[in-house]
Assembly symmetry: C2
Homo-oligomer: 334 residues x 2
Amino acid sequence: MTTPAEGSLVLGIDLGGTKILAGVVDDQHRIVGRAKESTPAREGPEALREALVSAGRDALQVAGIGPERLSAIGIGSPGPLDVDAGVIRSSPNLNVTDFPLKGTLEEAFGTPVAVQNDVRVGGYGEFKLGAGRGYRDVLAAFVGTGIGGCLIRDGRIVTGVTGNAGEIGHLIVKADGPKCGCGRKGCLEAVASRTAITRRVYKAIKKGASTPLRDVVKSKTSRLKSKELSGAYRSGDPVAVHEVDRAARFLGLALGGLMNVLGPEIIIVGGGVTEALGGPFVDLVRNAARAQAMADPDRLVRIEQAELGDDSGLLGAALIARERFVGTGEPQRT
Amino acid sequence: MTTPAEGSLVLGIDLGGTKILAGVVDDQHRIVGRAKESTPAREGPEALREALVSAGRDALQVAGIGPERLSAIGIGSPGPLDVDAGVIRSSPNLNVTDFPLKGTLEEAFGTPVAVQNDVRVGGYGEFKLGAGRGYRDVLAAFVGTGIGGCLIRDGRIVTGVTGNAGEIGHLIVKADGPKCGCGRKGCLEAVASRTAITRRVYKAIKKGASTPLRDVVKSKTSRLKSKELSGAYRSGDPVAVHEVDRAARFLGLALGGLMNVLGPEIIIVGGGVTEALGGPFVDLVRNAARAQAMADPDRLVRIEQAELGDDSGLLGAALIARERFVGTGEPQRT
């Protein structure tokens, strides 16, 4: 087999609730082969195993290499995880319990596997290879179905005594406000996630508002895609504009408060909602954050959109595996 | 002159809005002489200079030493400060602008002076000598007229790119809630400080509530002392109980959110309000924080009352000066 890629190669996998992205990543952090599978979210462990292995094999095939060319595998997964054992403890979204990610991939590809939380690999990817390049103190915020965060200090992911540091979705921003998926009230995720926006769009429709989203949002738990939301927003639909503005403002308030507490060099705003809405959304978030951040009068904290898009998880997972098992993870600085 | 104290001695000063506390601190972090002056809050720079020097001289006299025995001076002050120049940039509470704290004390005592933010010296004192002894990742929260915080990570005060990190008083906890002194709405300080409690007690009185605090709180900006509040709380006065419980809950919600983000080893709750109300207040805060902190299901983050009381600022300031100028700041671990 001819090997088009030189140097050490790592397979990065981003295991999401709807899709699995896999990519073979070279030592310049370029994706030299990629593949995608739908996540079998309800079929149980055997189906999940097959989909993961299939995505990995397809990526290898596209890269034109065999598994013996891989130096390591890194995977980002929803949790809660046992990171050291490489096990998904339980995931209602994936319908598995004690699923051995590490064991499954080691067996299939014969190479060491690093497992980490999905938000954290995305944050680490952005930190080292995306909008956070060159910084040491970074907060990444990802807005999608929920809101996740990753905190990096002195160049390392902060895990905290809890192991779960970086969790920003359950900061209280509106005490006694809307009920959150976590059972509490007024969490950031309950007012600024796509789930929160969907619920409010549904409310507006029930009250008779006219919006092109009417065809998509038929209940408060309807699946509203970020692209559908951004389409309506861009077309000037008043319902979409109002709800996106409101969510961005809440996210900004929370991030402004965290600017006060942490004084990071940069806050990176990413995730599906951000990706779809782009610059105008980040501008709204930035303005609200700056207005709230009294401890940063000179505007020293940068607030920027994520740069890696859908690839942040895959690239971050590959990088974490490379740093652990290959040891040459220092990226090219631009 | 006989010298009762051995080893190197440092003068610590806590410059507050109502009083100046000064203490000569030995190398075992014991206060071997202390003095107190009222802060001339309206009289301007010359009166402030005299009061600071007088407090320092009195502390030396009580310790039975002359200024030549001092190795350094540390002072904690309200800000904003230019920490390096040792200057108070402006302080409405002290009615001074560009006041040279460092120059004033160096000239009067002929020894090097370290200047730091008042909340930060208190947090550092608690971290090294109080409730935070033995920990490396600490968040200190001080509740008084306002709400201040100090963040310590890997054993060092986090200042952030803004220089102001650790500011927790302006986290948003109730968006569009009560107006804050900073001009924003729903900040933690606007719902959980003594100022916020006072305003609500006044509201209750205006609505006809019967409370022993009626004699003290005659307007929404009345000066309610922490001791008066705690007296009413302990006597079971329903107004005091309701408002203290409410403030503690809001503080707990905010700290629970920060537990999620930071995962610190310990959160230290201090300040005048905490000091006066004691354990029951800290219990309320702890319960609310734990209920909010989804990222700490195993309750790994400790939440404890500060231990140094009024001396945290003085001892912390002395310690910062000792570490900078004497270099033997490592305290005795217990």
